[in-house]
């Protein structure tokens, strides 16, 4: 395809809570949770951060990284499960905050954890057809896990923005393929504060079915196999699922290592594999080939094949890397965490 990633930017809030801290409150065994999920700690938003502020910071990092002229951005799509408004887009605030208004189209996306990658596909189409010069796709969340529920250990906060274009690509998007069915493995009803999930049902019929179908579908269409890739990123609700699906598909643990950020970050939902991709781009070299497959409950997966260009070196240091964003966190206890996540009803 003629389109690719022109720039990217990530943002992770400074606060973290350790799995042990949460387990203590509910009388659970921290070690078995850490072993079971392969997650040590997760990010927590500050009192004045939300999906919009995170999306703006990620978008600004993407703009700064490659010195993009925001007036050239023709579309912005922000995908999230925690948009601050049920009606009024996050994307208009982002557009205003990066100086891309008013000659632009925007809208918000929702498809559980794959809203961001769906936005990437939309931008790809608009750029490929010449409808716009540059498109921005953002996946950002301040995900909620119900107190005492398994998801509370992993529901994290973070966001990533990708700018898609034709000129000056740092990674060409060779192809994309999606696999979608109506599979209710995880959802949240309007007005409800926390999501519901199907427990073990989210595994086989949800995650594994869709990720592997999309991955196999893309490789079949392209005639590629796992060994053709340097790196692979799979949606990371925890550390176990992507490790297992990688093995199932024939990818090695070395290939998924740079992109596997969930143990130190938690699941940033719409930002999840986009964060893993950013971490991979932070260290990739020209000529590296990257495979990525997202997963959104409901359910669907978007698979992508990227080819890194030599321009990556030129723009790499223009914004903080994922490692820099993960460094020097501030650890908080459960009480502070509950205050930050508005779990205490005032």
């Amino acid at each position: 395809m003629n389109v690719g990633i022109v720039s990217y930017g990530a943002y992770i809030p400074k606060y973290r809570i350790r799995v042990e801290e949460i387990a203590k409150v509910w009388g659970a065994n921290a070690n078995s949770i850490i072993d079971g999920l392969m997650v040590f700690e997760k990010s927590v938003p500050d009192l004045d951060e939300d999906t919009i502020t995170i999306a703006v910071e990620a978008a600004r990092h993407a703009i700064n990284r490659a010195g993009i002229n925001p007036e050239k951005i023709g579309a912005i799509y922000t995908g999230s499960e925690s948009h601050p408004y049920a009606v009024k887009p996050s994307s208009t605030v982002v557009a205003e905050a990066i100086g891309a208004t008013p000659d632009i189209t925007v809208a918000d996306f929702e498809f559980a954890c794959k809203a961001g990658t769906a936005a990437i596909q939309t931008c790809m189409g608009m750029v490929e057809t010449g409808m716009i010069e540059l498109g921005m796709a953002i996946g950002a969340d301040v995900s909620q896990g119900a107190p005492g529920d398994a998801l509370e250990y992993t529901a994290a906060a973070g966001g990533v923005a990708y700018i898609i274009g034709k000129k000056d690509q740092v990674a060409n998007i060779e192809s994309t393929y999606s696999y979608t069915t109506d599979t209710p493995d995880f959802w949240r009803r309007e007005g409800m504060p926390y999501p519901e999930h199907g427990g073990r049902f989210t595994g086989e019929p949800g995650y594994f079915k869709h990720v592997s179908s999309a991955a196999e579908g893309l490789m079949k269409r392209m005639g590629t196999k796992p060994s053709d890739y340097n790196y692979a990123i799979f949606h990371q609700p925890n550390g176990k699922f992507p490790t297992r699906v990688a093995k199932m598909l024939g990818f090695s643990s070395e290939q998924i290592k740079p992109g596997l950020v969930v143990p130190r970050l938690g699941n940033t939902y719409s930002g999840s594999c986009m964060m893993g991709l950013a971490a991979t781009l932070d260290i990739a070299k020209a000529g590296d080939r990257i495979f990525m497959t997202s997963f959104g409950s409901g359910a669907g997966s978007d698979a992508f094949s990227f080819m890194v260009t030599d321009r990556i070196e030129e723009i790499r240091n223009g914004a903080p890397s994922v490692e820099k964003l993960l460094a020097d966190p501030i650890y908080i206890n459960y009480a502070t965490y509950a205050r930050h996540k508005n779990k205490i009803k005032l």
Partner: protein
């Protein structure tokens, strides 16, 4: 603050857009349409500030009203932007790290909300330029 009032100042708050008098070279944030030095003779145009500055003075607010009570204790500061003007804002940093002379940069944050049914106000706060040593 009512919706139209906040909306009028949106761009200024989100992007630190103030004004600049071409006549005397004065920089103004918050924006002013009337240059205090040149008054009617001034030539005043919009200007986007870089967002870098230094803390001139600060306090830690423990008692606040309404919406801001959710954030206490928070750091309120007067910051001098590199281009010259001073503004009032919050600084998000460790309370033991805030000091007069701290170099700061802009960050996009929630300023508050009208109510849980009402409008959310976004804008610029500041964070230390360098992480705490």
């Amino acid at each position: 603050m009512s919706v139209p009032r906040f909306w009028r100042r949106l761009k200024n708050l989100y992007n630190l857009i103030g004004t600049h008098c071409e006549k005397c070279g004065g920089f103004f944030y918050p924006p002013r349409n009337m240059c205090p030095k040149c008054r009617r003779n001034g030539i005043v145009n919009p200007f986007k500030f870089k967002g870098a500055g230094v803390v001139v003075t600060y306090t830690i607010v423990h008692t606040a009203a309404k919406d801001y009570a959710k954030l206490t204790p928070y750091i309120l500061a007067i910051i001098q932007l590199d281009e010259g003007p001073r503004l009032t804002s919050q600084v998000i940093c460790d309370h033991s790290h805030i000091h007069i002379g701290l170099r700061v940069k802009s960050a996009f944050r929630r300023l508050g909300e009208e109510s849980d049914k009402g409008m959310i106000y976004y804008g610029t706060k500041f964070v230390p330029m360098e992480p705490k040593p």
